[in-house]
């Protein structure tokens, strides 16, 4: 039953507090909006992923081999726990596009001649399947084709082994394998669809071109039990039985970069979609408690009168709970509208990184309902304190004027030495703060939370920048990096130096190895460096160069930990290329690095381990300034053994574009939202103290205080409370940044927590801006307060 009169009172009360209403609803809107949008995107993304993986048969495991005859695939199919398998050719390629300076790295993957369902199937986006008449037909990854302006009918050149082929594009397609278009070899952080190509070629053509007639170099499969432990057992069997075919690598499909990034993103979304809204709603509920307590105190005679008239405590309770309900309702509706919009915006953003079919923002009615329920629940919680007082108030007691405000000393007054020295204005300010412990604490908490959020957002961008400059500026100094298919001897390096544009070269040997120490085992890339390395200088996390011994390995701390090794120990090492024989190697040192699983050795030493005198499979080079790279790249790409050419600056720019911009936008939004928490709570708590102290304001005006004089008292209060909040917030912000860095760190790399002192200052400055905005409104209210009227009213 709705009481019309009480409803009218409610609406008028709310209208009188329009600033509170607006700012509170805004905080609730943001909180619910975050929930709606992120829960929505989570469901859009996970649903789309699930369907995609299922319908296009994303595998459970991947086995890379040197050369497995077709019957080996049948053998794997017969293993227990194996549900389905497919053999395929997966070969790295250089793609040459008309009008492009440098060749583009990519992979070629075999597909059946006719479009039949297979594991890791592809979804045609344009054009057709292979015609069956022409061998040299290619289906391109859709994003790659679009970025490079290629369509069915375009012609491209691609290098397979030592032969360049001219291919006709017949179609473009997406695949669950490349949702996040990144080279499966890893080493890159951001997808660069223009610079990484996936080509689907007919099985027969690819087998012929790669000298794999009647054979495959990769087996992908589905398992009955796809858990890590079950698959480890299966891998053991595969390694044992397929050893003659050279098992190079066994891995879980979910560990591939594309799948990994997608899974991590989903986990992140799930966490943020609960943490962020909670923060906003808890602050909103606390602030609402401050407001409602004040309202009930202000209306105690009204409550007494209503009770005397026969209104039950229940109806009074319902009346005051309705204030929260209205805010919850408005905030909830706002949150749904904003959240649904943001869901669309987020999906658009995600589409730049993740390519999935039918990845659209959907309308989830149940999420809306949950959002609304959460909003109402928190808002009603926000009225608890006030309602409790209202319900307990006895009518007779309520009709009497409130007991006069008690005097008494506050905490700082107990320290007379300090108190006596305090200027008068500060005594007033400290009294006001300590006499309202709940209100002051809410304010401190809100500003703490806002500061911590802002700082961690800023620190995240710094961490990313730091990582990028660390990797691309401090560690790497080369202009280009040329990867070779197989290790080559010293002549290749020399040859490259002969190219007129190259000023300096440095070889490297990167060898994937299985490191073993008793039961502990890990597969890592061991990097062989020349003695006076200048173009690539790995550093520890404090920026000191890592010293590479003549003999033995230097491991990252993390890797040493995993393998339970310490300097002086010996590790069993089996390289996955060359001789592939187990050898023993001493551990000479460990270093703390950002890259989690790194191992370094001297290039000669590592060459010997794989059975070579001297070998390199990466050649880094510096070019003379202002020379066109075209000529040398032209010569290089024709070398059959080149599998990739990477430019350092381009990679950095690309990373900056994809991550930097998105990160920048996200962080700005975060700062804005966090700032609104500060703004809203400062505004509301100050509004409440202003309303309590209107008479005081009037008196001060009579005494000749200007609005500015009075504002200084109120802003002094805000200043003290918020300085405490901001300082605590900065401490929490640093802790938060540290724990975020842990959360984002994987085995592969460590996300550094970067705390620049100037960022702390900037963060405080941002807070000051938001708090000042609230104070400006308060100043306006003090200036326009009809103080004479206030004094005329007898409370």
């Amino acid at each position: 039953m709705v009481n019309r009169i009480l409803l009218r009172k409610l609406l008028r009360d709310l209208l009188q507090r329009k600033w509170s209403l607006v700012s509170l609803c805004l905080i609730v809107t943001i909180g619910i909006g975050c929930y709606i949008s992120m829960a929505g995107v989570y469901r859009d993304l996970s649903g789309s992923k699930k369907r995609y993986y299922q319908n296009y048969r994303f595998p459970d495991f991947i086995v890379d081999l040197k050369r497995a005859p077709e019957w080996a695939v049948e053998e794997v199919a017969s293993f227990p726990n194996v549900r389905a398998v497919r053999g395929r050719v997966n070969f790295s390629t250089l793609i040459d596009l008309p009008g492009k300076d440098e060749p583009i790295s990519g992979v070629s993957i075999s597909m059946p001649e006719t479009n039949t369902p297979v594991l890791n199937d592809i979804l045609l986006m344009s054009g057709t399947w292979f015609s069956g008449e022409n061998d040299k037909e290619v289906i391109l990854n859709d994003a790659f084709a679009q970025e490079n302006g290629l369509y069915p009918g375009s012609r491209i050149k691609a290098l397979l082994l030592d032969k360049q082929h001219e291919l006709l594009v017949v179609g473009t397609a997406k695949s669950p394998e490349f949702v996040y278009l990144i080279s499966p070899g890893g080493g890159e952080l951001a997808p660069d669809p223009a610079r990484f190509g996936v080509m689907y070629l007919t099985e027969r053509f690819l087998q012929e071109s790669c000298e794999l007639e009647g054979a495959f170099n990769q087996i992908i499969g589905l398992a009955h039990d796809s858990s890590r432990t079950a698959l480890t057992a299966t891998f053991g069997l595969i390694k044992e039985k397929l050893d003659p075919y050279g098992v190079l690598n066994t891995s879980l499909a979910e560990d591939q970069p594309s799948a990994r990034y997608l899974a991590d993103e989903l986990t992140g979304l799930k966490i943020t979609s609960t943490v962020m809204p909670s923060i906003f709603l808890i602050v909103a509920a606390l602030v609402l408690n401050v407001i409602m307590s004040r309202m009930v105190a202000q209306q105690r005679t009204v409550i007494g009168t209503l009770k005397a008239l026969g209104y039950s405590s229940g109806s009074i309770t319902r009346h005051y709970v309705s204030y929260g309900a209205i805010i919850g309702l408005i905030g909830g509706l706002g949150g749904i509208a904003f959240g649904y919009w943001a869901q669309g915006a987020l999906v658009t953003l995600y589409r730049e990184f993740y390519t999935l079919p039918d990845f659209e923002p959907h309308f989830y009615f149940d999420i809306f309902l949950i959002g609304m329920a959460i909003s109402l629940a928190f808002a009603v919680l926000g009225t608890l304190k006030g309602v409790h007082h209202a319900a307990l108030l006895e009518p007779a007691e309520a009709m009497r004027p409130p007991p006069p405000e008690k005097g008494g000393k506050v905490l700082p007054e107990r320290i007379p030495f300090f108190w006596r020295r305090l200027p008068f204005r500060w005594k007033m300010i400290l009294r006001a703060i300590f006499r309202n412990p709940f209100r002051s604490s809410v304010n401190v908490l809100a500003s703490l939370v806002a500061t911590a959020l802002i700082f961690s957002a800023l620190s995240m961008t710094d961490s990313l920048d730091y990582l990028m400059s660390y990797e691309f500026e401090k560690v790497s100094h080369q202009d280009i990096t040329v990867s070779l298919r197989d290790p080559k001897d010293i002549t290749t390096t020399r040859e490259m130096l002969l190219l007129p544009t190259i000023s300096e070269t440095e070889p490297q040997l990167a060898v994937a190895c299985d490191l073993k120490n008793g039961p502990y085992q890990k597969r890592v890339g061991v990097m062989g460096l020349v003695r006076n390395n200048r173009l690539y200088t790995p550093l520890d996390k404090d920026g000191n160069p890592i010293v590479i011994p003549e003999r033995g390995l230097v491991l990252s701390k993390k890797l040493a930990e995993i393998l339970n090794l310490a300097p002086g120990d010996t590790v069993t090492l089996r390289p996955l290329i060359g001789l592939r024989k187990e050898v023993l190697s001493p551990i000479v040192g460990t270093v703390d690095t950002f890259l989690g699983l790194s191992a370094y050795a001297n290039i000669n030493y590592l060459s010997n381990l794989i059975g070579e005198e001297w070998a390199a499979n990466v050649i880094m080079g510096n070019t003379f300034q202002r020379t066109s790279e075209r000529s040398f790249l032209d010569k290089l790409k024709l070398r059959p053994t080149v599998t990739g050419i990477r430019e350092r600056t381009r990679a950095l720019i690309q990373l900056d574009e994809t991550f930097g911009e998105t990160m920048g936008t996200m962080m700005s939004i975060m700062v804005l939202f966090a700032g609104l928490i500060a703004f809203g709570s400062v505004l509301n708590t100050t509004l409440v103290s202003l309303s309590e102290r209107q008479r005081e304001v009037g008196t001060l005006r009579v005494l000749g205080y200007s609005p500015a004089n009075i504002s200084r008292i109120f802003s002094g209060e805000s200043l003290v409370v918020n300085v405490v909040g901001i300082l605590l917030g900065l401490v929490f912000g640093i802790l938060l940044a540290k724990s975020l860095s842990l959360a984002y760190s994987t085995e592969l790399y460590r996300f550094p927590a970067i705390v620049y002192p100037w960022r702390l200052v900037m963060c405080a400055a941002i807070m000051v801006v938001f708090i000042s905005a609230a104070q400006l409104i308060i100043y306006r209210l003090i200036r326009t307060l009809k103080w004479l009227e206030v004094l005329k009213i007898m409370e």
Partner: protein, 237 residues
């Protein structure tokens, strides 16, 4: 009394409050001069416009028509800022309900007034003048009504104002406390030579002033002088 010098004059002042559609005239063509150093009492029934007049004199509000001049300055010509300065430096105000700040001690309530001005009395001295030196650390809630009003007088005094305006200063006090307060005000007038303007609806009080202005329906009806004013001890109601 020797030569009378006008420090403030009210000329044909009207004040009309707009309450939605209706105009409420609170003052109509009121004219009154206030002399330097006098104790002026404005008496009239409730609702006759006393407070309105006092507020205009005190620079807390502006007249709808007419002019109020303090020495050479016309108050209605002043900006809000200058009006604030006028209140700060020239006027001391005493209210019926004291309007002390509940979270400040007696001494601090006096300090409040001098915080913003230069030419001031020592707050402790002001408190001593009203006989409250021993209660300086008490909060308003710990003081009686009469004591609170005394704090309020000390506060009005400490800014060293040209005149003291009192709006029903004894309206909430019993006879004993009232006489105490009135005695203090007379002392201020005689010993410190402060001009005091006091408004009341209680005609018994009017005996103690040098002059008494009678206000009715928003205009000054008549002015008389008490020759001599009655000592505070002799009045009663």
């Amino acid at each position: 009394m020797e030569k009378k010098q006008i420090i403030l004059s009210v000329k044909s002042v009207s004040k009309i409050y707009r309450m939605g559609e209706v105009d409420v005239p609170a003052l109509r063509d009121a004219t009154l001069d206030i002399y330097d150093g006098e104790f002026l009492i404005i008496v009239g029934p409730s609702g006759s416009g006393k407070s309105t007049l006092l507020n205009l004199i005190g620079g807390m509000d502006r007249p709808t028509r007419g002019r109020i001049s303090f020495q050479e300055t016309v108050l209605s010509d002043l900006s809000d800022k200058d009006l604030t300065l006028y209140r700060r430096n020239r006027v001391g105000f005493i209210f019926q309900f004291y309007n002390l700040i509940p979270t400040l001690t007696a001494l601090e309530n006096v300090q409040v007034a001098i915080e913003i001005t230069q030419d001031t009395l020592d707050p402790m001295e002001s408190l001593t003048m009203v006989g409250l030196q021993d209660r300086a650390d008490h909060f308003p809630a710990q003081l009686s009504g009469g004591e609170q009003q005394r704090v309020s007088i000390a506060r009005a005094l400490s800014g060293n104002p040209d005149f003291i305006l009192c709006d029903e200063p004894t309206g909430a006090l019993d006879l004993e406390a009232s006489k105490n307060i009135l005695g203090l005000l007379v002392d201020l007038n005689q010993k410190l030579k402060k001009t005091v303007v006091l408004i009341t609806h209680n005609s018994a009080i009017s005996e103690i002033g040098h002059r008494v202005a009678l206000i009715r329906d928003g205009s000054i009806h008549s002015i008389r002088s008490n020759e001599p004013p009655k000592p505070v001890e002799q009045i009663s109601w």
